[in-house]
């Protein structure tokens, strides 16, 4: 999809900075707090009750162009567009409505390009890569982004709003020679982490809401059914507690993406869960063709866990190269009268002991039991951009 691009007549050459700029670091995985050349937003949704607002900023003193792809997690079909940002320019758009190029509309600011609206009930990801005026990938490492998942339900309180940082992939070196094939291999671009770890809440009642909020409902009396925290809230009638809810949902997208031939990743996830009492269990989830979103409870069936847990996971495939993933975790909270809240968090990266038949995570070789090192921190993958006429 061709878009109108803003091309500045003069490109400002960035001055040599007194401070060295942090850019591609060989051997370092993706990052969620430094600018990069590729941005991955693992969770983009438009439903009857949720919407997504995207923010992207060009942090450099040069103009920057991005080719962006919405990836439909259900159909695995991409939908691409382009945006152009002037130096230091921030931009934003609501994915449901997109953004038009209209200087006189209510959306003030330099319109970065025509951004298409997404249809209702879209769930998937957004991937943006820096390109030059001819659509050839470049490595400015200038862009950062955030996604805000917003509650648009008709509930009395719409507090289910979450925000996460886009996963940035940094370009390494100054040249890219493989055309539309972006090699995330710690040589061309940073590679994705070999495994991830997520902190999660065991699904059930939330201890903080039970203690301080409306964890229950009054039983009997004049305020039967009203929200309550304790019996005193029910005029000495019984407050039936334990009715709050907490649940964690993890959303992942593979770092191997093919927007040209639409080859599917078909990956599964292998989990190791541990609770505060050192009880551990292995689980699997998937397969996912190109994107996955699931509640952790679906993976914890049969595990009697403490309120707080961790889940380390990596992606596995039946045949072919390993497919690393990036993701985001979102925890949903609800009190006894269905007031809701949510909070998102970026996931942490871990390495894996490469010569072990078991799933053992690590940060250094010495973390691996004898015979199982080296510790592999990243896994190579590729992103194939679609060709343009």
């Amino acid at each position: 999809m061709m878009t109108i691009r803003y091309v500045r007549a003069s490109w400002v050459t960035a001055a040599v900075l007194a401070c060295t700029l942090m850019s591609g670091v060989a051997g370092a995985a993706t990052t969620t707090e430094r600018p990069g050349s590729i941005l991955i937003f693992p969770k983009v949704v438009t439903t009857g009750s949720r919407d997504t607002v995207i923010q992207i900023t060009n942090t450099s003193n040069m103009s920057d162009i991005l080719r962006c792809f919405y990836l439909n997690g259900d159909t695995c079909a991409p939908n691409d567009f382009e945006i152009a940002l002037t130096k230091q320019q921030p931009t934003e758009w609501n994915v449901r409505s997109g953004r038009r190029v209209n200087p006189s509309d209510s959306q003030t600011g330099l319109d970065p390009g025509l951004i298409p609206p997404l249809a209702e009930n879209f769930q998937g990801a957004l991937i943006c890569a820096e390109v030059d005026i001819s659509d050839a990938p470049v490595k400015h490492n200038a862009v950062k982004g955030e996604a805000t998942l917003v509650d648009r339900s008709n509930s009395v309180t719409r507090n289910a709003v979450s925000k996460y940082n886009a996963v940035a992939v940094q370009g390494l070196g100054t040249t890219h020679t493989s055309g539309n094939m972006l090699n995330l291999n710690d040589s061309d671009y940073s590679a994705c982490p070999a495994s991830l770890i997520v902190n999660l809440n065991r699904e059930g009642s939330d201890p903080v809401i039970e203690q301080l909020g409306n964890g229950g409902r009054c039983v009997a009396g004049t305020n039967n059914g009203a929200a309550c925290n304790n019996n005193a809230d029910c005029n000495s009638n019984n407050c039936s507690t334990g009715q709050s809810r907490v649940e964690t949902r993890v959303t992942v997208v593979p770092c191997s993406l093919d927007f040209e031939f639409l080859t599917l990743s078909n990956f599964k996830l292998s989990f190791l869960f541990e609770d505060e009492e050192e009880t551990g269990i292995s689980r699997g989830n998937g397969p996912f063709p190109c994107w996955g979103s699931f509640t952790m409870s679906q993976s914890l069936v049969g595990l009697n866990a403490t309120p707080y847990m961790t889940g380390r996971f990596k992606s596995v495939v039946a045949t072919g190269p390993a497919v690393p993933v990036v993701g985001v975790a979102e925890t949903f909270y609800g009190d006894s009268v269905a007031n809701t809240a949510s909070a998102a968090a970026n996931l942490h990266s871990l390495g894996i002991c490469s010569n072990s038949t078991q799933f053992i995570t690590c940060m250094r070789d010495i973390d691996c039991p004898t015979g199982t090192s080296p510790c592999v921190y990243t896994t190579a993958s590729t992103i194939q951009l679609s060709s343009t006429p």
């Binding site: 850019s23 809401i209 409306n214 045949t319 925890t331 592999v376």
Partner: protein, 430 residues
């Protein structure tokens, strides 16, 4: 010409090796060198939680109840000890917290509640509280000196319960990741050290070196007492003084610098915040009546990277500059002074309460919804004080009809590495 920093890695040094996974596959096997800059998405040896807040029983019946849950996880296969400090925004004095984590253990606690798991885990409850939490991976819980490992990850979730006449109306929650500093030495044998000295003398030494002869290279230095400036491992090595631990977040050159060499990642030169301007209507709110749309406001918590937790002297003041760009590429700036801790609405950085409409962070001033804010501490020539900053950003969406507030928290981005000017954390391990 863009200057680039290149961090030599095992990959560049020829550490690349192909490993097979599945049929006919090749993947990158990359040693993970320590990160030279802070990160909130990788385990580390030193964590900072910039905003910890509790007030579970506010006196004002209209004020919300607030609680923070801290989650701390040991990602390694070994037992790890953690020494933490609550640092209050009122007086910047540290409160010790000690935790022992078993292999792979996740651990969480409510800040308002005390936790005691003998013999090593002791966490005092704090309620009310506003400040930060710093956690250091240490070797020995009885003499908690930093250890050369990067095994900790953390998150903080702030709950808010809106109340009317003391009655809880709803719930809100926001989560951010702790900011992690990895130790910069790839070794598992000696505690990290910078400008260390032999125990009983002021001879400079390096871990495992021969400078101390038959003696040992101390992990800390005596502060005051008869052996001030000499190396030490325990307080008993410092008669009439104390043995302090020094963590060097980056290196500071020049005479008088306590950190000629780094043993942890350095604080970034500049923080970058993507923000909606204050009072911007929520782009996702489809209410056709502009007056009924939720409005966005921002909060920013800033803490200095450098912290001397051994002294009661007033914390040094850091001048923090803000450079703001709107969607028209137009630029404005402001500055403020921060001492020890700052937790402010964005619009109160340059205006007093009540004057937010005239702030450079207000949508009415900027004319666009979104902006980019670049934040940096102004460097001075004092080698004993760094001006690096850490931050967490919050957004609040207030519904004008119901009064409910939906919040989010997010880690800010960072760019640039200061040259010749690092930060430090000094604390007394006993």
């Amino acid at each position: 010409m863009r200057a680039r920093a290149v961090w030599k890695s095992a990959v560049a040094a020829g550490g690349l090796a192909a490993a097979l996974f599945g049929a006919g596959a090749a993947r990158v096997t990359a040693q993970n060198p320590p990160s030279p800059f802070p990160a909130s998405d990788a385990p580390a040896g030193y964590l900072v939680f910039p905003k910890i807040q509790t007030n579970t029983q506010p006196a004002d019946p209209a004020a919300p109840s607030i609680e923070t849950v801290v989650q701390l996880t040991n990602t390694s296969q070994s037992v790890r000890n953690v020494h933490c400090f609550y640092v209050s925004e009122t007086d910047c004095h540290p409160d010790n917290v000690n935790i022992r984590l078993t292999p792979g253990q996740p651990f969480a606690w409510q800040v308002s509640q005390s936790v005691s798991i003998p013999p090593f885990t002791l966490i005092p409850g704090r309620d009310p509280f506003l400040g930060e939490l710093k956690c250091i991976e240490v070797n020995d819980p009885t003499v908690p000196l930093p250890v050369n490992a990067n095994d900790l990850k953390g998150e903080a979730t702030i709950y808010t319960f809106r109340r009317t006449n003391g009655v809880v109306q709803d719930v809100d929650a926001r989560t951010y990741n702790a900011i992690g500093f990895q130790t910069s030495v790839v070794s598992n044998t000696e505690p990290p050290g910078a400008q260390r000295a032999c125990v009983g003398s002021q001879t400079a030494c390096t871990p495992g070196g021969t400078q101390c002869g038959a003696g040992t290279c101390g992990a800390g230095k005596c502060v005051s007492g008869t052996k001030g400036g000499q190396g030490c491992n325990v307080n008993a090595d410092c008669p009439f003084g104390s043995c302090d631990a020094l963590m060097c977040l980056g290196a500071t050159s020049g005479a008088g610098s306590p950190c000629l060499a780094a043993n942890y990642a350095a604080c970034a030169d500049t923080l970058i915040l993507n923000n909606f301007f204050d009072q911007a209507p929520d782009p996702a709110d489809v209410n056709p009546n502009p007056a009924l749309k939720r409005k966005i406001t921002n909060g920013l918590t800033l803490v200095p990277c450098s912290e001397d937790l051994t002294t009661d002297d007033p914390e040094p003041i850091t001048v923090v500059q803000f450079l703001i760009f709107n969607e028209f590429e137009q630029r404005m700036s402001t500055a403020t002074r921060i001492q020890c801790y700052s937790d402010l609405p964005l619009s109160n950085i340059d205006t007093v309460p009540g004057g937010e409409a005239g702030s450079v962070f207000n949508v009415g001033v900027q004319g666009t919804l979104a902006g980019q804010t670049r934040i940096r501490g102004v460097k001075n020539s004092d080698p004993t004080v760094g001006q690096g900053m850490l931050a967490v950003a919050e957004e609040f969406r207030r519904d004008p009809t119901t009064g409910s507030v939906a919040s989010t928290a997010v880690n800010v981005n960072e760019v640039g590495m200061p040259v010749g000017k690092g930060d430090f954390v000094r604390y007394s391990p006993q």
